[in-house]
């Protein structure tokens, strides 16, 4: 009986770990798409996601939209916003000095965060989960509907994106522009627009991540800050240029952190507290960068000196 209970407990943590990991995977995927195509690490990805989530909240609460139409509208708005940000802010500094790009994304981070506070205030808001608060009992394992919904949405988005990249002309052009922009131009691909499209897709992914995060932790301007860190850890772990790595990294991280939480009730792991989740992710970033910077699925960068 004890073993069954322990197993049930374990499975619960795995499922909720997958749900959390799904969110990390989405944001990590956004980071990877942007890095692969434009070589930029977008420190503002979290804030962009927060802004998108506020837009969704605004539509549902202040304008009375129902959830799913607001969801889709937010995705569209975020996509356009991402394209816009690339064309206006990023493109002029893309090719230059690394420092310039870092400062520009930091400027975006600070500015967007400020905008959110300025427009909607700093108090936490509530965004209802579209999946309700039910729980299901599957063979003794208690699974929250919200977790299942999150996993389903994350999975759906990832699969759709994969299909876009693999089977469509635009997806092919995106991939070509990312790996070999000069040659892509020669076959007629408008590379600059493809890069902007990449930013649009990343913004869209961030929006989904934000909307999946808000119901659980509450919507406030700094909601995505820890998620961004987890996303960085997932992306670095999986390989900053590998979309597969981002997804795998996110899921692994989500489950790992939940595992540590679960095990913290047992002697050997009782040092692990909730506060250590973030530092653990940071430690992963450091260790991976120092030991194997290209991550699990990445290819080593040749530095010939």
């Amino acid at each position: 009986m004890l073993i069954v209970a322990a197993f049930a407990d374990f499975m619960q943590q795995v499922v909720s770990g997958l749900a959390a990991g799904g969110v990390y995977a989405l944001l990590a995927l956004a980071l990877v798409i942007i890095h692969r195509s434009t070589g930029v690490i977008n420190f503002a990805q979290g804030e962009m996601a927060t802004l998108s989530t506020y837009i969704a909240w605004n539509l549902t609460v202040n304008h009375g939209w129902s959830y799913w139409p607001a969801f889709v509208a937010t995705l569209a708005i975020s996509f356009v916003g991402g394209v816009g940000i690339h064309r206006v802010v990023i493109r002029p500094v893309e090719r230059g000095n690394v420092l310039r790009i870092v400062i520009v994304t930091i400027g975006l981070l600070v500015g967007i965060n400020g905008f959110v506070i300025w427009k909607w205030g700093g108090e936490p808001q509530q965004l209802q989960s579209p999946f309700g608060t039910n729980t299901y009992d599957v063979g003794g394992v208690v699974i929250a509907a919200n977790d299942i919904g999150t996993i389903a949405v994350a999975l759906a988005i990832v699969v759709l994106l994969w299909a876009l990249f693999q089977f469509t002309k635009v997806g092919l052009a995106l991939r070509a522009a990312a790996v070999n922009p000069e040659e892509a131009r020669l076959v007629g691909v408008r590379v600059t627009w493809m890069l902007a499209l990449g930013w649009g897709l990343a913004a869209l992914l961030g929006a989904v991540a934000g909307m999946l995060t808000a119901p659980a932790v509450g919507l406030d301007p700094n909601m995505m800050a820890p998620v961004l860190i987890y996303a960085f850890a997932a992306a670095i772990l999986g390989g900053i240029d590998s979309p597969l790595g981002a997804v795998v990294g996110g899921l692994v991280l989500g489950v790992l952190l939940n595992m540590l939480s679960y095990l913290s009730q047992y002697g050997a792991f009782d040092w692990f507290t909730e506060e250590l989740r973030l530092p653990t992710a940071l430690l992963i970033i450091l260790v991976v960068l120092l030991v194997r910077p290209q991550g699990i699925f990445g290819r080593p960068e040749m530095k010939r000196v």
């Binding site: 870092v102 600070v110 967007i112 965060n113 400020g114 450091l286």
Partner: protein, 358 residues
Amino acid sequence: MSPRPQRTIGFVAFAAFVAVVAVLPSFMSDFKAREYSYVGIYLIALLGLNILTGYTGQISLGHGAFMAIGGYTTAILMVGNEQFGGPISGGVKDLWTLPIAGLVAGLFGLAFGLPALRLSGLYLALATFAVAVAMPSTVKRFEQFSGGGSGIQLFGTPELTGSSANVHVLGRSLTPNDWMYYLAWSIALVLFAVAWLVLRGRTGRAFRAVRDSETAAVSSGVSLARYKTLAFGISAAYAGVAGGLFAIASAFVNPDTFPIALSIYLLVGIVVGGLGGLSGLVFGAIFIAFLPLWAQGQDLGSLLPDRIVQETQKPGGPAIAYGVVLILLMFVLPNGVGGLFRRIGQLVFGRRRYSRPD
């Protein structure tokens, strides 16, 4: 224009600057002097970061962490951590803690610099970012050393600092704020001179070689490992001293005294100010210390229509302005304000024979 007269101009300008710094407190309120002492503190940190980023091209989003190390070292040495169960009894006078703060931070810098050799550009930025974000929680964790969440108070140690009563120096009596100002700025100017000397010599040339082309540097026999690590150590030491001063000026340290925002502001200060010259770094330090206040329309109030001032003073408004300013600056002045000063200087005084770090 040949180097010799140019250097004379440089010395004269520097002397004038020192003079201005020396007399400034007489012209401003006591409170303003305290604000300007923070400018001096940030300048020290920027001097260090400049060596790392401007001279060896390594980007750090984590120098706030080194300031934290320095700040906590100072606090622990002054007050001791026996109250938390730690081993140190404290009682060290504030001034003497500063070299130690620098040394300890510098050692951590060397320790980080060595593995950091494998990272470049954005990866290094990310790694240092991770360190800076992790610092507050790590500090909290080692409660016995650091006092955990509530930190360490430096009030009530008047025999160790000048911060609660007037200080008597050279026959004059200084208010605590003025004392802080002079302390911070004299250390800043001394450290500037030290940096200048170091960078003029072989070390500086090696640093620049590393920044300009690692391949070329190696083939000329410059050891990348040694100089890149050294740059990390020196810059961390500077940040440590700045952190120690920060602790003295604020009279307490806790995990939130040195948040990730500080590390970000330091990098922003360096880039906005412009890598390289002193004038740019001073501007960068002023930028870090004052822009958040300016953005709140305190000084712009009279220039802009009321409605705009009202809107920008709502919470979040200043941050929007800050973000926009940053982005615009990167478009318009990619070499920072220091770069602008340099260009003006070139127009007025003619081009230099040798190239400056840009």
